[in-house]
Subunit: 389 residues, 3 copies
């Protein structure tokens, strides 16, 4: 027939389908279903929205950290007095987010390139020159063997930085125990690129005057950016004297959990401390140390002062997570919520059609049977119903 | 009855339920509902898919950065001429992603371990030896007090690296103002582990010859990986002379936003600059400086040259986000979209059943009432209708 | 009527709507729909749940890395023998996660601040003093020009650290080729803050004794945290000798993919290696090198030993992703799954109502027409049906 398209379109726009429904008046079913639906509703609103904040998008922070140590230590090694200040005991100097504070050391002054016997630490014992193959290296050795076995020490003679460092004895108590009183100042600024928010750990209220006097404490001063090294070790579950001797690593986690739907002032950092290694619990490799050489020239000869540095390695880790309302996750949550509502209905129908005594009756109400196929519908009463219509 | 299972199964496979619907021919309802549904459709397709790219999965990048400075500065301090090259003014040397360019400094040559009076900066004033407790440290002090109060300076005598650094005056104008013309070359390579894509900031077209001549400019040369230090400071909103004097920190954000459904050539970095600290706006702790000691031995005595370094700390931060089509989020989006469609229907039904004048009629069409319970259905006409069926 | 509210409420609670459905007994439609629905079911269960683990939440790791090199090299440069140990060839010293192992170098001993001719490398040629403007810098130059053109070299005389480094010839073969046998020990500890799980790469079975003897191998010892430098280069697709000469950068990716629903012991690291730069494939900037100065004072004059260091820069990148069951994503997945089920029904209806020969009959079964509007329903048979009801 003509202009059927226009008709179809007008139909499409002026018609509206809505599913036909059976209204079952049944206490049990009714209550059961309302409860199920209620549960779903509570879940969607209560959990997804209020608890998990499903209506917000997340963004992780980009952070930058600057650190500064303060404090002086004093040593008196075999009569030689020495004062250690920041540039002597912090590696590297420039206030990076990962640095080492020296708490103990083994110093070998005036090493030169020459030949000397290996350290008699048991690993390098030799009985005759045969044990020291000329020009070879031992994995446990410190240099190239000259092929001679030194009688005095029963170790191979090597070509190396001599004298060889003797690290069999780690000074105990640690030489720089005063490190316990050093203070660490942390400056941290973060950016949430998506929300384009910038924050610093010097939040409102943490101003010049406050910083001058404050010292971090989990309860009393949770926002003070100045930390006592001894406290840091303790908060991380270490015994300072113990870790100071053999060294260890500590992670300071600056945790930003910001809900940007609230006032920005509520976006403040939380400082967490956990020991990374140094605990004796971890069998494999305990402690933290490295070697640092200071080179100099004396009488035209290049020399170096080698230090085996034991210390606290501090990694400052920034973990920022901001959340803000966004329409997409909201609608997605609603959408899947409605989907789950569907589940509720399905469950109810199962109850209605398979558990209730009057199930046949309800089946009959709910379903209308088409009998165009060859096979005969199996349940008579329904067929009758069908015809009656 | 026998073989009822097989029957049930065959039924299950050959039957198909589809909800019965009322087709309401009503201009108002029809138009309203079509509009609502249209809105949902537009939202799902337009926003979720086209705008928010809800059909893609994300992956964040793993990046590695290598930097290299170029440039020479010249100073003339009290007649002593000196040239500063890269290894003199960059800390650390090895081209890390976070480094410091020295722009100003206070140098204290030839410090030795000995005793000398504290710096008379007001914090360490003493009037008599009582004010200087032997063997103690002042938090503001530079060493261990010997117990003597020096008359000439009215400060405690300390044991420390002497002479004590005098940082009361920061050189102004900065000594290495020439740093403004230094150039920074950034090499950045990123990996998207999930999509297993590797890119470098030396993208197509940024080749040997281009790099030789180019200089970064936001509009003209947005891809040139060579930056003038002065420009960096300016792009970050700093006045170079000012920040060069007291130091500061700048973040260079290399932003990769890649849609991997397009050509890989379109996956190019954007360079952003923001000042981290150094701006006077931030009250608490302004500027950036650290101390660096160069050790040497002279006449068998260990000495050091202490430098208080003021400079630009540059943190290069890589933030990569790649998106690629994936079936899961697509179907999830569709799924919740259909869910939202359900919402549309619900709204329409409310209109139909509670707002329209003929609502009773439609109720009647839509619902079929079961009357198996004791209570009598309340609305007569419907009951009649019901019987009529 | 009175107390209608209570009635409404009781109705709400004791009533339950379930959609009326047509049960179509039709082999084709039935099978088609069951298949479609089956597909959706398989997709939801199989893909979203089993394959993509849609029922889990993710958390990315926070990692801390500590590295330690071992090994000694021996050089004999023009008769001068020298042994190089860790503190000589690793930059920086303190075992950071990004460090450089020197494999080749150009050394310039005893530079002082004075004047000397530029390096005759072609870039700085001059013919007369006019070519050397006094007090100016050349971008390609090493210092400030004094205004003199030196005849012997045909280059400008400059004020700089003299003598100027001559890096026209890069030693080949690399001087520290022995670096191939150095070993790298990596200690990595990660934290999943959300799940509050801490793991170390020294997992179960990787204990003191194992570490003493083992050497990493992708198949044989995939968990051994000790790596041979030569192997690392090779796994990254480099030829060691080649990269050792000009330098290069390698990324070691420690990949943690943990399913925390399983035993924690199954949460183990995977080590991946990829070359970052140094490959000649990348045209723009090949190799990796930086300059390192050692300062010292000789006869009251400050001198420095400048080294142009070529080496392997190793970036250790930790990428941790943990997944754990969570109710929210589970229900979201189910919800959208149900939504997709809706899609299946829609498709089936289209088949039923537009493709089947008996479509009119089914339309008639499915839809009930309201005839309250002016326009007359177009299809006779249905209208009749309608009346018949």
């Amino acid at each position: 027939m003509k202009n059927s398209i226009t008709e179809a379109i007008s139909d499409f726009f002026f018609e509206y389908e809505t599913p036909r429904q059976v209204l079952v008046r049944n206490r049990r079913v009714g209550v059961v279903c309302r409860l199920i639906q209620l549960g779903v509703l509570v879940y969607i609103i209560g959990w997804v929205f209020i608890y998990e904040k499903g209506y917000q998008t997340e963004d992780t922070a980009i952070g930058s950290v600057f650190t500064k140590m303060k404090g002086v230590a004093y040593t008196n090694i075999s009569g030689e007095q020495k004062v250690w200040d920041v540039s002597d005991y912090v590696y590297p100097d420039q206030g990076a987010e990962s640095f080492v504070v020296m708490t103990n050391f083994i110093i070998t002054v005036g090493q030169t390139q020459s030949t000397c016997p290996e350290l008699p630490d048991g690993k390098n014992t030799c009985h005759s020159d045969e044990d020291c193959k000329k020009g070879e290296f031992k994995r446990t050795g410190n240099g190239e063997m000259t092929g001679k076995c030194v009688n005095t020490t029963n170790t191979c003679e090597i070509m190396s930085w001599c004298p060889v460092e003797d690290d069999r004895q780690i000074p105990d108590p640690p030489l720089l125990l005063a490190a316990e009183n050093y203070t660490l100042f942390i400056k941290n600024s973060i950016t949430f690129p998506e929300f384009n928010v910038v924050r610093s750990n010097l939040v409102e209220g943490v101003d010049q005057n406050y910083i001058k006097t404050c010292m971090f404490h989990p309860e009393k001063d949770p926002l003070c950016p100045i930390f006592k090294l001894g406290d840091i070790a303790q908060y991380s579950g270490f015994n300072f004297t113990q870790i100071a001797q053999g060294g260890g690593a500590i992670g300071i986690l600056i945790d930003w959990e910001c809900n940007l739907d609230l006032r920005i002032q509520k976006c403040i950092p939380k400082y967490r401390f956990h020991g990374l290694y140094g605990s004796s619990s971890e069998g494999a490799s305990v402690g933290y140390n490295f070697r640092k050489a200071k080179y100099y020239v004396e009488d035209k000869v290049e020399k170096r002062t080698l230090m085996k540095v034991f210390g606290l390695r501090i990694d400052i880790i920034v973990h920022g997570l901001a959340r803000k309302f966004d329409i997409i996750p909201t609608l997605t949550a609603i959408g899947s919520g409605v989907g789950i509502f569907g589940v509720a209905t399905v469950v109810c129908d199962l109850v209605l059609l398979y558990l209730l005594p009057k199930r046949d009756f309800y089946k009959n109400m709910k379903f209308k049977y088409t009998t165009v196929q060859d096979e005969v519908p199996k349940e008579q009463p329904e067929k009758v119903d069908e015809r009656k219509e």
